[in-house]
Amino acid sequence: MARHSSVLDLIGETPLVDVSSLSPNPRVQILVKLEGQNPGGSVKDRPALAMIEQAEKDGRLEPGATLLEPSSGNTGIGLAMVCRVKGYHLKVVLPSNVSVERRQLLQVFGAEIIESPGSEGSNGAVRLARSLAEEHPEWVFLYQYANPANPRAHFEGTAREIYRDCPEITHFVAGLGTSGTLIGVGTYLKDKKPEVEVWAVEPPAGEAVDGLRNLDDGYVPPIFTEGGGEELLDRKTIVGPRDSIEWTRRLAELGIFAGISTGAALAGAVKCAKTIDSGVIVFVSADGGWKYLSTDAWTGDIDAVVERAKQTIYF
């Protein structure tokens, strides 16, 4: 059915595409789930809709309510789209060093941007949002890092689609941000098929951790802890900007125009493929390449692009 009454009906049911030609191991198949096909352009449409619908069910959202959320971009954009459709106001705490397109998209959907220091990364945005939420109890703070509707959206949506479309899956690879995708999908897959391995890919910590004054300023998302993340993950590996960009470019050779974190997830999938004898790896492409065109990631001199990527949040 290609006729819908609301754009929100288009969230989910994203395609899987075989990219095994990039596999370093002929006995390992690699497939990518293209979450950039969601109407807001990223995987975050799923938790955005799920968190808002849950808050409506719980009676936390009056018509015309104002929401507050820390986001490096995609969750903010997803929430902004849903809020526009449903008539809510949204304030997004956004680190100052995200790509310009993320900021523009938030404005497209009428969200208000509150800047947090870029040098503090997402950690800084989280910290500022939490203190604003305390000062303004009248704002609804859905807080993706601690909201069970975030992993549930992936348990009920992303994971079911993956298992339905690729029951032969042996390894699942995704980026680690809030951990919603990994917890939701990982829990579902291990319920259905306990031998499936779950691999997390994360960006290098960089400057944000330099700003920490003591270890108690560190942060582990509550949904990771409550979802048993430490028992669930089989591997957690860092992928740097150079590998991320190189693999993002390789995907474009297959006609797949994906964001830079997709290259990082693919680098993780390739590393996984090298360590196993045979299998079927599914990895998540969190978004398309559109929001990163200004970074010249595909066309610029690789060294210059890598240097710029180090200053930008792309996860």
Partner: protein, 93 residues
């Protein structure tokens, strides 16, 4: 076995300001214990009283978080790099 250990900014004052130190040990656990012996001010920042990794500390062997390898029993080989980093919210770059 002697390997390079990269320290986060907040631990450097405890290591005479050094960003990279060398430590010996056949496993991550031995390495961290030796590191604490060399730089007593680090004591209590990496390991809990029960001897497990502090909740907000991530230790990486090359690029892999040792919590998902063999934790403190993870074997270390010549030429490896160990990095100690505080856990922060994702997307921090």
């Amino acid at each position: 076995m002697s390997v390079e250990v990269r320290l986060p900014t907040l631990l450097r004052p405890a290591a005479n300001g050094k960003a990279v130190v060398t430590a010996t040990g056949g496993t991550i656990g031995e390495l961290l214990a030796n590191l604490q012996r060399s730089y007593p001010a680090i004591q209590g920042q990496l390991l809990t009283n029960e001897g497990s990794l502090h909740r907000f500390v991530n230790v990486y062997l090359n690029d892999d978080d040792v919590r998902y390898l063999d934790r403190l029993d993870t074997r270390v080989s010549e030429g490896d790099t160990v990095s100690i980093l505080p856990a922060v919210a994702g997307g921090a770059h």
